[in-house]
Symmetry: C2
Subunit: 351 residues, 2 copies
Amino acid sequence: MLPFRVIEQAHVEQLLDMKNVIKLVEKAYTLKEQKEASLFPMVFHEFAPGKADMDIKSGHLTGANIFGLKLVSWFGENPGKNLPALVGFVMVLDSETGVPKGMMSGEPVTLMRTGAAGGIGAKYLARPESEHLLLIGSGHLAAYEIMATLMTMPRIKKVTVYNANSYDKAAAFCATAKAKLTEKFLAPYKADQSLYNMLLDRIDIEYAAAADIRRATEEADIIITATPSRKPIIMKEWVKPGTHFSCIGADMEGKQEIDENLFAVARVFVDDVNQAVTVGETKTAVKKGLLAREDIVAEIGSVILGQTPGRQSDQDITIYDSTGIALQDLITADYVLKQAEAKGIGTVAKL
Amino acid sequence: MLPFRVIEQAHVEQLLDMKNVIKLVEKAYTLKEQKEASLFPMVFHEFAPGKADMDIKSGHLTGANIFGLKLVSWFGENPGKNLPALVGFVMVLDSETGVPKGMMSGEPVTLMRTGAAGGIGAKYLARPESEHLLLIGSGHLAAYEIMATLMTMPRIKKVTVYNANSYDKAAAFCATAKAKLTEKFLAPYKADQSLYNMLLDRIDIEYAAAADIRRATEEADIIITATPSRKPIIMKEWVKPGTHFSCIGADMEGKQEIDENLFAVARVFVDDVNQAVTVGETKTAVKKGLLAREDIVAEIGSVILGQTPGRQSDQDITIYDSTGIALQDLITADYVLKQAEAKGIGTVAKL
């Protein structure tokens, strides 16, 4: 009889805050670079093309004595059944004994660690004086990408949001952006009044929907793409020197958000080389011969550790291709488990 | 908030009986043959060679509207920490919505479905008049292989048990075999007095440890191998015509239980061709060119469905290479979940 803790979505949300998740994800990236972490092969299955799929991402964080997996299902018709389209769980096991430690709802872990990834890409690769963030996509990831980037890039003054299918959705998102960010992310910092006020101030900037993607691109210092797009939304000739891209959306065959020709002129960084060239934003450029696998400058962990320089001039275009790796989920989930244990949150089930 | 059921080991044991598991595993095999089931790629990781590893087997049973995975960890040093060496869980999800239905301790599911596989191999490939079962291995699988084979092969009169490392262990196993089988497997049938008595009678045969593996092999009609061996225990020249093998133990690189030359003269059947040629008993013969992938007669599901003949004469040597597939686990776990739900067994946790 082996007890383990199960934590439901609302409790996972309550136990996570973006400041800590950014630190945790940076830690996961650096452990990977230091070979204290490994990814296992990803399992992907499509139940019905374009309608339902699932993947299992797994790995081992030697440095944290844990291994485990995240299974995420996407069933596009679920909302019509009053169920979320994305359903998943993270299971964390002890890598000294193989015994399950706990599991939790996968969605809040995914949203937070994916937001953190976009912000970390900007932190290590964008120009420090960046003032203008362009977010492509106004869906469920948008608030997470914005919050993480506001935390890592203190000079941001304006966020432009573009939705390729609906200007109105982008406008609606912007109309309530401040309230949404405050509600979603600031509660955990209430006890620290000065931090809370600083973040409240950080959020208090301009949010505007973009009608013209070309103009929005020309104005942006940092561009984060977080859509399920299957064709490029941003063309190379619109991009000004010095722009940084954090590419978040492309995580499987067929998905693409930016012009593959950008990879021929940019300094390219990734979270995991194997995933980037097979399922990430990088894959199309590699497939078309615009970028060789060896042209990828480094995995982001190497930049965080100071082993590889990020951008080398204000004129560089930089790309961070974040495909999303199990190590981000595992380190975040392990943190949730420790908090839950300390606070007695969750159900203890037995195996 | 998504509720799902968690069932601990003792309850899984209580909800499973071998007669039903044999039926369920046959069903999984036939669904696979009918393309109503698919296996996803297996994930394997070795934490420390020969000391600790884990695998994730996953798949989809279209015919049963479920998909899911089994994660099994093997940590050889666990018993010294008062923990089981094998720890695992099965997670079952709804393949119409991606929502988790439930999870349970993996060990009893594995033991029962692996026993069933050995018995099913004999049922469809051994000579019906087989009287003598030789079991290689006296470990945790032994009782399961024997019970399943006694259920599928009604004329068995003698079980010989061989342990390559310790005659005494095999003898100790045999000394209490009847009591062990009665205790482990017969309780679920107490309500059906005639079935119970029939099985009690079936169990009431001779159990003898073998000192001389060559002689034991020469006498056997059915040989089941269920060890973690890394070198052949049974040589080709000892095997009499008409013998059937169910090879259970080999499920990863490096493991082998019988002389690979047997594959050159036998009719070879498998549970899954891909797994058999990469990790199963079949792999060594394929690697050495003694058997081509195309020489595998069929997957067992085809024999169960009557689409491919099993043995063609009393002189055939038949081999069933059972590597163990996720579909066996999923169909068995789904049955446990249904029973548990009907009886209100297990903990309902939330994601």
